[in-house]
């Protein structure tokens, strides 16, 4: 069964969401960032539904975005934002950071469930593709700046992913990438990758 982390500071609303979700999923509840991080450390969370306006700053998206970054960097699970923060900048920042979906309150429960199902479908499909050797890498580029930065960003992401998968084994990475070991060393130096950083994020 999927384990969903539901981070929402409104107790009443959280209870209703929980009731709607717990028929199909195991639901963990958090009212603030600290509790959410605590639960993420203790349980094998597979998906997160996240409010952006969290205490002590319920009226800005800052706390929610902080948690979003933390989840994506450390757990790489799909995150669905369900928030009253309708500002364009918050939506932009969340999506740019890698949120799977951005639902604005009041959203229907059907919408929330639909988004969760799609997130699971996407995650499973990505996993299957990965097993077949196809990895989906997302990265942001500024189109106006030409192809070179895009090429470098793609290169950087692919190499970083392979290094992560091989636990920083240069020999295996070179083999997977179909390049010489020297080239892998060159990229490591060029992009400034460090084993500690990769281990921290893993």
């Amino acid at each position: 069964m999927e384990t969903i982390l539901l981070t929402e500071d409104d107790v009443a609303l959280r209870a209703q969401l929980r009731f709607a979700l717990e028929e199909r999923f195991e639901v963990l509840e958090a009212g603030d960032v600290r509790k959410a991080i605590n639960l993420l450390g203790k349980h094998d969370v597979t998906l997160a539904v996240l409010d952006l306006g969290l205490p002590p700053h319920e009226n800005t998206p800052d706390e929610g975005l902080r948690l979003l970054h933390y989840i994506l960097e450390n757990f790489g699970i799909k995150v669905i934002i369900l928030t009253g923060q309708k500002t364009e900048s918050a939506a932009l920042e969340a999506i740019k950071s890698g949120a799977f979906d951005y639902l604005v309150k009041p959203a229907s429960i059907e919408q929330v469930l639909f988004s969760i199902d799609r997130a699971i479908l996407f995650r499973d499909t990505e996993r299957k593709l990965e097993e077949q050797g196809l990895a989906k890498i997302t990265f942001g580029i500024e189109v106006g700046k030409g192809l070179q930065p895009a090429r470098e960003e793609a290169e950087k992401n692919i190499i970083l992913k392979v290094l992560k998968d091989t636990n920083f084994n240069v020999y295996k990475s070179a083999k997977l990438l179909g390049v010489k070991r020297e080239s892998v060393y060159y990229f490591i130096k060029k992009f400034g990758f460090r084993r500690e950083d990769i281990d921290d994020n893993a």
Binding site: D10, V11, A12, L13, A15, Q16, L17, R18, F19, A20, E23, D32, R34, G53, P55, P56, H57, E58, N59, T60, D62, L82, G84, K105, P106, A107, S108, I109, E110
Partner: protein, 369 residues
């Protein structure tokens, strides 16, 4: 002999020259005095007109006539408003035009006297008028901007709460249609029971914010007996705050408003506990004769600018609105009580003093029967 004659003939000349200088000095003194008086009267008139340029300008014109300034003309634009009075083409005038992002001022005066030494006096009066107009405009723009800014913040706060309540209702409607078996039904009721206090506090807060400032004198309020310590305890539980509540005391007030008062205090402490995890919140309630005093204090760090805590829209939090405690004090005052806050040795301490009040007539009747 010759010297004596010279002195005799010069004597009259010196006296006449001295008298002339005295007359000129007295005349200049008269002119400057008149100008200063006009200046002072202009400042007073501006305040009497409540800093409204539209009212002030005609009065300024009348006053300036006393200083031989024949007329004032202007072209002032701010916001969507324009005040304009065109000036003469071929007369003696002093003019200035200033254009800033929020406003523009074009000002001119028509002087009567062409004499050079008067010019400085005209300039002083002209500059005073210009400064007064600019000050009035800036004040108006600032007040309008502040009001708009505060209104938009207030709206954002209300929106956050209202969206959550609407989202709750959407969830409720969805779930009611899909309750299923007895076990789910039992759980559903359990969840609702858990949610009720939070929901009630939230709706009370929305109502109190919307009603703030719209109460009329003599509005009949539904008063009921409120057990102060138990209400504090409920709120501490709601926010999951550590702390003890001692003493006894109850008041007859509007319960929803009383919740808002205590919620604003305890919520503040709860938010503070995010950065001070060891923070506890204690309270003691005392009933003495006709007054009930509740002291609520935290065990956290002192608050800077504590004297400004009840000021509307004053906040130390990045995302705060600064309306909560202002609202709390406003309600307490409406109840006929008082509320203070201070940094003490044990922490930040709020003291609420309330009149016990009387039960409403219907309730009193029920109790006696």
């Amino acid at each position: 002999m010759i010297t004596l004659k010279l002195i005799q003939s010069m004597y009259m000349f010196v006296i006449v020259s001295g008298l002339m200088v005295l007359v000129i000095l007295l005349y200049l003194r008269y002119l400057t005095n008149r100008a200063f008086k006009v200046q002072l009267k202009m400042v007073e008139a501006n305040s009497e007109c409540n800093y409204d340029i539209g009212l002030f300008l005609p009065r300024a014109r009348d006053l300036m006539r006393k200083a031989e300034i024949d007329d004032v003309f202007y072209d002032i634009t701010y916001g969507e408003k324009t005040l304009s009075k065109p000036g003469p083409k071929h007369r003696r005038v002093i003019t200035r035009k200033v254009t800033r992002p929020d406003y523009s001022i074009g000002l001119g005066i028509v002087t009567v006297s062409p004499r050079g030494y008067q010019r400085y006096i005209y300039m002083i009066i002209f500059e005073t008028l210009f400064l007064l107009i600019e000050m009035d405009l800036l004040m108006k723009i600032k007040v309008a901007n502040d009001a708009l800014y505060n209104f938009s913040r207030l709206q954002a706060f209300l929106l956050h709460d209202v969206k959550n309540v609407t989202q709750f209702i959407k969830g409720l409607l969805y779930n009611i249609a899909r309750i299923g078996g007895a076990e789910r039904e039992h759980r559903f009721v359990e969840y609702l029971r858990e949610s009720a206090p939070a929901l009630s506090v939230r709706t009370d807060k929305i109502l109190a914010t919307l009603e703030m400032g719209s109460e009329k004198e003599g509005d009949e309020e539904e008063a009921e007996e409120v057990d102060v310590p138990s209400m504090i305890r409920q709120l501490l539980d709601l926010y999951g705050m550590k702390g003890e509540v001692s003493g006894e005391g109850s008041v007859f007030v509007n319960k929803h408003k009383m919740v808002t008062v205590l919620d604003n205090i305890i919520k503040n402490m709860h938010e503070k506990s995010a950065s001070e995890p060891e923070l506890e919140c204690h309270a003691s309630v005392r009933e003495e004769g006709e007054t009930v005093t509740a002291v609520i204090y935290d065990t956290g760090s002192p608050i800077k600018d504590i004297d400004r805590m009840f000021e509307p829209f004053f906040t130390t939090k990045k995302s705060g609105l600064g309306i909560g405690l202002f609202q709390a004090k406003h309600v307490v005052k409406k109840f006929g009580g008082n509320m203070t806050v201070a940094n003490t040795d044990r922490g930040v301490e709020f003291t609420i003093t309330l009149m016990k009040g009387a039960p409403p007539a219907t309730l009193a009747l029920e109790q006696t029967s």
